[in-house]
């Protein structure tokens, strides 16, 4: 032991390891606790993002070109599908308009200005994605300057894909809904069971990219195909954003509670453009 403490190389190696463990631990804690990153980190991220925006343009063109070829190949079947949808749209639009009008009148009569379902949106482009195999983090080209805040919901392809993790001046990081990070905030969700009862719960992710409806408030069954929406109870996301549809219900590994698997409605794989949702009601 005495020899160890006399060996300068060993001591400096030990010191370096301890310093890195402390640095890693403290930065992980800071990342989870701070509402906005430290100024120096924010500045660094914004500087790097300038380069990312420049490089992502030609990369996007190249990728877009390949996707366009794919789109042309699938054009006929897509066209048939869309024709069928268009015929249904007119009726839905008229119904939606009437309901909107009625809703506004009722809100006005009740003196309600904004509810959990009121929100505004901001569109953003994805400039980069975490390059490793295990994390699910995107960087988008909108930040504090566009009014974004930590924990805002992010949508793409018709459903929620994640939430804002970190906001810098002109960029933000988005953590996808499929992240298995223990410290990640979870979406409070709701779904209507076959008996008409509304069930509340939260969304958690399993390794392998599947998401599940957990901590269900009732034992009522959710059948396959039931749509799951945000409940707005988490305090950061509005009510009524589509999360996905129930695919199957099994028991958890202890056989005690239901494990309701959900197919995400949002497009988690091809996320070149996303929509950040800003809830109107705070708190």
């Amino acid at each position: 032991m005495k020899k160890f403490f006399q060996n300068r190389k060993m001591l400096s190696a030990l010191g370096t390891v301890v310093a890195f463990i402390i640095l890693l631990g403290s930065t992980v804690l800071l990342r989870n606790d701070l509402n906005s990153p430290l100024f120096i980190q924010s500045l660094g991220n914004d500087i790097v993002s300038v380069g990312s925006r420049i490089v992502s343009v030609p990369v996007g063109w190249l990728s877009g070109g390949i996707n366009n070829v794919d789109a042309i190949i699938n054009a006929v079947s897509e066209n048939d599908h869309l024709k069928r949808k268009v015929s249904e749209t007119a009726q839905v639009e008229a119904e939606n308009e009437a309901l909107k009008k009625e809703n506004a009148q009722l809100k006005s009569a009740a003196g309600v200005k904004s509810t959990l379902t009121t929100y505004s949106t901001t569109n953003a482009s994805v400039v980069s994605r975490s390059a490793d195999s295990w994390t699910e983090i995107l960087t988008i080209d909108k930040g504090k300057a566009s009014g974004l805040k930590k924990d805002m919901a992010v949508m793409s392809g018709g459903g929620v894909i994640g939430r804002i993790l970190e906001v810098d001046a002109v960029t933000s990081k988005v953590e996808l809904i499929t992240t298995t990070d223990d410290s990640a905030n979870r979406f409070a969700v709701q779904a209507t069971a076959s008996n008409g009862k509304t069930i509340h719960g939260i969304i958690t992710a399993e390794s392998g990219g599947t998401i599940t409806f957990t901590q269900a408030s009732s034992s009522s069954k959710l059948t396959k195909g039931t749509k799951v929406y945000t409940s707005g109870l988490g305090g950061t996301s509005p009510k009524g954003l589509l999360i996905g549809t129930v695919t199957n219900t099994t028991k958890d590994s202890f056989g005690l509670s239901d494990l309701i698997k959900i197919k995400p409605a949002g497009n988690l794989d091809d996320t070149s453009v996303v929509t950040v949702v800003k809830r109107s009601v705070t708190g």
Binding site: S128, R129, S133, T135, T180
Partner: protein
């Protein structure tokens, strides 16, 4: 211009880091295989090749450390993933190039060994801080795919990093040796 030449490798590493993120966004689906996904390690590959080709320059380790800290903050918002991995890879690369023959196949083997070790390190760190629950089997498959992609990236980009490291060594003024 003289000072710019000394920083060319640093700028190239910055571009490699940006490309890592941009290409990961585009190639995400191509790099996924079932429940596993390959990592895009262009920045670690660049650091290793620069270390192979400029093995007498001790400043490369400090460059790798700086690149690691910036990459950590940009990708994860924590310090300790690239900030540890890149300097270790740089130091290993300098040692490896002195011990093993200067042949591409040996360099490729060294590179694949280190990128695989780096992937294991990243997985361990993420398991430790609770960012992933991937099992050893899933991690093993990801590391295997990562090795494949790393081999491809090395074959495609080795000459670029090698040329930059030889012609523009980091913080070395080659103009001093001109006359």
């Amino acid at each position: 211009m003289r000072i710019f030449k000394q920083w060319v490798v640093a700028i190239a590493l910055y571009v490699a880091m940006i490309l890592d993120g941009c290409l990961a966004a585009v190639l995400h689906q191509t790099m996924s295989y079932g429940n596993s996904r390959a990592s895009l390690l262009l920045l670690p590959i660049a650091v290793m090749v620069v270390a192979f080709e400029d093995d007498r320059n001790a400043k490369e380790v400090w460059l790798a450390l700086a690149a690691g800290v910036i990459a950590d903050l940009y990708f994860y918002g924590i310090i300790g993933v690239y900030a540890v991995g890149l300097p270790v890879m740089s130091a290993f690369g300098r040692w490896y190039s002195r011990v093993f023959p200067e042949l591409f196949i040996f360099r490729l083997i060294g590179l694949l060994l280190m990128t695989s070790a780096f992937s294991v390190y990243v997985w361990l760190i993420f398991r430790l801080i609770g960012w992933t629950h991937s099992s050893l089997g899933q991690a093993g498959m990801s590391i295997l795919y990562t090795a494949g992609w790393s081999a491809l990236l090395t074959v495609l980009t080795y000459w670029i990093w090698a040329k930059l490291a030889r012609n523009y060594p980091f913080l070395v003024d080659l103009d001093n040796y001109r006359y």
